[in-house]
């Protein structure tokens, strides 16, 4: 076996002009062929996995890339002078280039590895916020933020006394851009808003958000956890100061995410955690730190997960984010169509151009019960508050059921969701 084979190079599911071959794509995901709820005397049900917004399944290419690293090339990175350490380092660092290319970042130096999007936001809050914000300054969030983009700012508020303001969400789930423009007052130093909502599916006008903020010298952080998996993201075109996403929603492993930062912004930020690779020199009197992005990567990094993320990026790029987006939009339209005439079903989030995420409630059945019923039909959805408690309050619901689609879902599965919802309603009586 060759030691120089590029890891995680996906085999082409289809050519650039071929129709989207979802059945071919599905063959890459071993888990999709398993049955669920199989017991002696009871046949299992095919898995209809519609919980992609929580975490996506992994293609064999990602699994293989991680296995191959462990079997052939694994050692600690950035330290050893020996063969495997060099090999591991090269493979791990190759992912930095892949992430940079994936986001169209100007350089690999713009990419900081983190454990996940949540850690990336916490890094920004503690490092950038701790340095650049002071009591009386305001961070502007939106009403559709995930808790991961609320709580880090509250922690900072409690530490240094910043204010938090919230841009409202319209009834269809769109961000109130008029209110946003009005809320860019002098005290606002940072705008931290999600690129796409994990509940509503709303895709926020990222470029416009940045343009308006930049005109008033605000720094902008976008949470791309949901956007980066559903559509192409070009940070040079959108031009945020900071952008975060996570690997496990992008068909990669858990434990690895990334923070993109404009060079000046990253350069202005002090270390986040101390130890290991972020250091230039240490004495007991004084430590000097490395340049960004390495300054923010303390300790042994998630090497295996990093290589897995690289393979995942290869995989989605091979299919093409445009093709994935178009496929998911077809699924969304199909599912919305099939769900539309179910009596008592309320859609939360109907903004134009939304991503393939459908949150709903059904009169008389609590979302938790919907979740259990759909699960027994083989349909995996998320139920609850989706780590967006303020958004639930905004729409006057305690919780919702949420079906979220990924690149391997089919129109049949969208139909099965609707069929299972109907059957659940019948069962409930």
């Amino acid at each position: 076996m060759s030691n120089t084979a590029p890891l995680g190079t996906a085999t082409a599911p289809h050519g650039s002009n071929a129709p989207y071959d979802v059945m071919r794509v599905r063959q890459d995901f071993p888990i999709l062929s398993r049955l669920v709820h199989e017991k002696p005397g009871r046949p299992g049900k095919p898995l209809v996995y519609l919980d992609n917004a929580a975490s996506a399944q992994k293609p064999r290419q990602v699994i293989d890339a991680m296995s191959r690293l462990l079997e052939e090339d694994y050692a600690n990175v950035h330290r050893g002078v020996h063969f495997l350490s060099q090999r591991s380092t090269d493979l791990y660092e190759a992912t930095r280039d892949k992430v940079a290319a994936f986001l169209n970042a100007p350089s690999r130096e713009n990419i900081v590895f983190t454990r996940n999007a949540t850690e990336a936001i916490n890094l920004v809050a503690q490092s950038w916020g701790g340095k650049h914000l002071k009591a009386g300054d305001t961070v502007l969030l939106s009403h559709m933020e995930h808790h991961a983009n609320i709580v880090p700012w509250q922690l900072l508020r409690d530490r240094i006394g910043i204010g938090i303001k919230v841009v409202p969400v319209l009834d269809d789930g769109a961000l109130d851009m008029d209110a946003y423009a009005d809320m860019l007052t002098d005290d606002v130093k940072l705008v931290a808003i999600t690129h796409a909502s994990n509940v509503l599916g709303t895709v926020n006008p990222a470029r416009e958000i940045v343009r308006l903020a930049r005109a008033k010298d605000k720094t902008v952080l976008l949470d791309g956890s949901q956007a980066a998996v559903h559509m192409p993201v070009d940070v040079q075109s959108i031009d945020p100061d900071l952008y975060v996403f996570t690997g496990h929603k992008l068909y990669g492993p858990t434990g690895i995410g990334a923070l993109y930062g404009r060079k000046e912004v990253l350069d202005s930020m002090p270390p986040y955690q101390g130890g290991g690779d972020m250091i230039s020199t240490v004495t007991f009197e004084k430590t000097t730190y490395r340049e960004a992005p390495y300054r923010f990567e303390a300790g042994t990094p998630p090497i295996i997960e990093g290589v897995g993320l690289g393979a995942a990026i290869d995989y989605v790029k091979e299919i093409g984010m445009d093709a994935i987006m178009a496929h998911e939009q077809r699924l969304l339209a199909h599912a919305m169509d099939r769900l539309a005439d179910i009596e008592g079903l309320r859609l939360i989030g109907t903004a134009p151009g939304k991503a393939a995420i459908i949150s709903f409630t059904i009169d008389g059945i609590h979302p938790h019960d919907i979740g259990t019923l759909l699960d027994r039909a083989g349909v995996a959805v998320r139920v609850g508050r989706h780590c967006t408690e303020p958004l639930m309050e905004r729409f006057g619901v305690g919780a919702t059921a949420r079906a979220s689609f990924g690149l391997y879902n089919t129109e049949d599965e969208a139909a099965m969701l609707a069929d299972a919802v109907r059957a659940a309603k019948d069962f409930w009586g």
Binding site: R42, G364, I365, H366, P367, H368, D369, T372, L373, R376, A377, V383, G384, R385, E389, M392, G398, A399, A420, A423, A424, F427, W428, G429
Partner: protein, 160 residues
């Protein structure tokens, strides 16, 4: 499609879930606590009137939740009326065991009314649904917090 779910969603549960008994904040009470299940967003408040003799004279609840949590609260409030606080605590322990353990593994939490346990048996289907145990026990955790004078409890703090 859902035949085997009848173990979980028995008719009694569906009935209590849709038409919970003792629902609403009573005019008077002297013990209360709020319970949260942060995972699903369920919130309930339990209201008790406990006499000087330690007997629960009245029990009610309000809040929102799934059929399992509403039915559990509804059944609980029916059962608790007229029972000493001490027995309510024992029932909580036994009910908790019923929802989480096989029969032979139950701990002795003190004497309980066998009729009450028979009635609660309808909830035991959650044993097969570990994700739903918190739904079934939320009301009981809340009741337990109320009698111990804690204003707010959360299933996240409970080792269930």
């Amino acid at each position: 499609m859902f035949d085997d779910l009848r173990d979980l969603y028995q008719e009694v549960i569906l009935d209590h879930g849709k038409n919970p008994r003792n629902f609403g904040k009573p005019a008077s009470f002297n013990r209360t606590a709020r319970g949260d299940n942060p995972m699903c967003g369920d919130k309930i408040t339990v209201y008790l009137t406990v006499g000087e003799d330690g007997i629960i004279q009245d029990a009610g609840f309000d809040g929102r939740g799934c059929a399992i949590s509403q039915a559990s609260a509804s059944l609980m409030t029916e059962i608790l009326k007229g029972k000493p606080v001490k027995e309510a605590e024992a029932l909580f322990g036994s009910f908790h065991d019923m929802c989480t353990k096989d029969d032979e593994e139950w701990t002795d939490h003190g004497p309980v009314d066998p009729d009450a346990m028979d009635k609660l048996q309808v909830m035991s289907g959650v044993r097969e649904f570990p994700m739903r145990v918190k739904c079934a026990t939320l009301a009981w955790h809340t009741m337990n917090a109320a009698v111990h004078g804690e204003a707010v409890t959360s299933t996240e703090n409970a080792a269930f």
